[in-house]
Subunit: 322 residues, 2 copies
């Protein structure tokens, strides 16, 4: 067997391989389409909507930072405000990652609360947290926000759409209504609020992110408050817990990753403040990108799928500045 | 804040929490339904269809074994036979995991072939490997195999169904036909065959598994040959590569996990031979399980989803014997 010049770098290619001279001609890939977007198609994310979570350094002593984008109005704003309150009270400092369940979630919180084997007293929560109810899992939206982006059938109830930069499910308010109720969907990397049995909806003190196939049965059952826009790999590659539900058992207490600090980006010194922007989901480029995700015509592909689910059209987010 | 007796073990519960006295009453969970299946609803997997891949021990010296179930006829049989040939020639022994791309794939193969920075000569492949073409990505099936299990719309082209224990997509052969063509789908943990640009379809010497949201745009574009039925966490929790496409760069060569041996289970001594069975997807219990996955009515849930995508109804597989 002769060694190909290209090797298998092209395999499952998401970006153009380096050895482009061997690449057959074809349509641009989704990433190539995004790279061609005009600067004004990118939307800056407010520093108030970014949260920086610093984990303890890894085994090699390397820094691990995770950046979360909080969800904009009208979705989940009570929990989002609680997260800012908790961060500003430094309540999250010193908590840990207590649960890593394969193909499901990574969850962090107070070890004496968010842990089936807890023996100590939980941390006191700061004053001023809002108590939300289940009605706030869904929000009224204008029908034209929904109809703009719905293209493929959704196996879950209702419609799916990208609204204001976020993946959403939606249902008509009534059969004869042109009003819709929408809710964020549990895609990979989305961040949600741990809760106990209903009517508890959680405060925002216990959070989790999705590290597997979208568990969309959780939509409308738990509040989603944001998504991880950088550093996801620091959570998704953690060792899986062997206790019930993927919690780390007492015998593997050393596997719990300490969380050193959680800060709202707008509270950081300018030099440490990260800046991100997302590709507008209302623009021409996003429409081309979504179409290319559903119908790959770049050289690696033989048969376009003819569709895509809402979690397989991730909204492009990138770091800016500095 | 008082400490709840139940704590958040119930959060995102997939199984009944230990402190059941606090749990509200409700319908059984999907896992509880599966636990009630009659013994004759479980189908034994032939030892010839199981492959045991032994990775080098982890940093703590712990054994890491991954068990792959190969796909049954009529799907992907040329590649499946190649995998047995490669395993029996001990060709896989000494290869490594060379690529870990977050929310996408873990890929293993010959470092001198399956690596954009390769400098050495690739390993010679054994004699007798079959060369497959793209037509074998899909197979004709009887229409009653398909129609039995299709319930929810699929955002990708055509239908989705669980056929013979496997997640499948399918399309009508022609508009007026009652024949269908079906193909396996790229769900979490499915195993596929690395390839270069078409018309290459890969030999089976380079393999990957899905570690994120189902990349179903790859369906009908790459051969799927099986799924991981045990030890998935040994692959999904590996550190992500920082090179192009998640390959480990030369600077992080120490992150490549050596693969010590790959053996067909039927070739192992009886004491080392694992045995597994899956829940028949044609039975009454599976139908109840699939319905419960799509409409969670167990106590944690408030609103049933009203549907589920094919990759969110994973086929239950369990170890037996010993």
């Amino acid at each position: 067997m002769t060694k190909p010049i290209l090797t298998l770098a092209a395999l499952l290619a998401l970006t153009a391989p380096a050895a482009a001279q061997e690449e057959p001609q074809g349509a641009p890939s989704p990433n190539e389409i995004v790279a061609q977007a005009e600067p004004d198609e990118w939307v800056a994310i407010a520093a108030e909507d970014l949260v920086v979570m610093t984990l303890a350094p890894d085994a090699e002593g390397k820094e691990r930072k995770v950046v979360i984008q909080l969800m904009p109005a009208p979705f989940s704003q009570g929990w989002v405000e609680n997260i800012r309150t908790l961060a500003r009270a430094k309540w999250y400092d010193g908590i840990s990652v207590n649960r890593v369940q394969d193909n499901y979630v990574v969850q962090w919180g107070d070890l004496n609360y968010d842990n089936p084997e807890a023996e100590g007293e939980p941390k006191l929560l700061p004053e001023g947290l809002r108590v939300m109810d289940e009605s706030e899992y869904v929000q009224a939206i204008r029908s034209d926000d929904l109809l703009a982006r719905t293209r493929y059938p959704d196996p879950y109830s209702g419609w799916s759409a990208l609204i204001g930069g976020w993946p959403m499910g939606a249902l008509q308010e009534t059969v004869h209504s042109n009003q819709y109720r929408a809710w964020p969907t549990h895609c990979y990397g989305m961040v949600g609020v741990g809760r106990n049995y209903s009517p508890d909806t959680g405060s925002g003190a216990e959070l989790y992110t999705v590290i597997g196939h979208a568990p969309r049965h959780l939509d409308r059952n738990i509040a989603l408050v944001g998504r991880i826009v950088e550093g996801m790999e620091h959570l998704s590659s953690l060792p899986r817990g062997t206790g019930d539900l993927g919690f780390y058992s007492a015998q593997e207490a050393d596997k719990r990753t300490p969380i050193l600090t959680v800060r709202v980006a707008s509270d950081l010194a300018e030099a440490e403040r990260p800046a991100f922007e997302y590709l507008s989901t209302d623009g021409e480029t996003f429409a081309r990108y979504a179409d290319a995700r559903a119908n790959r015509r770049d050289p690696f592909f033989i048969v376009p799928a003819g569709g895509a689910d809402i979690c397989n059209i991730p909204v492009p987010v990138r770091r800016t500045g500095q």
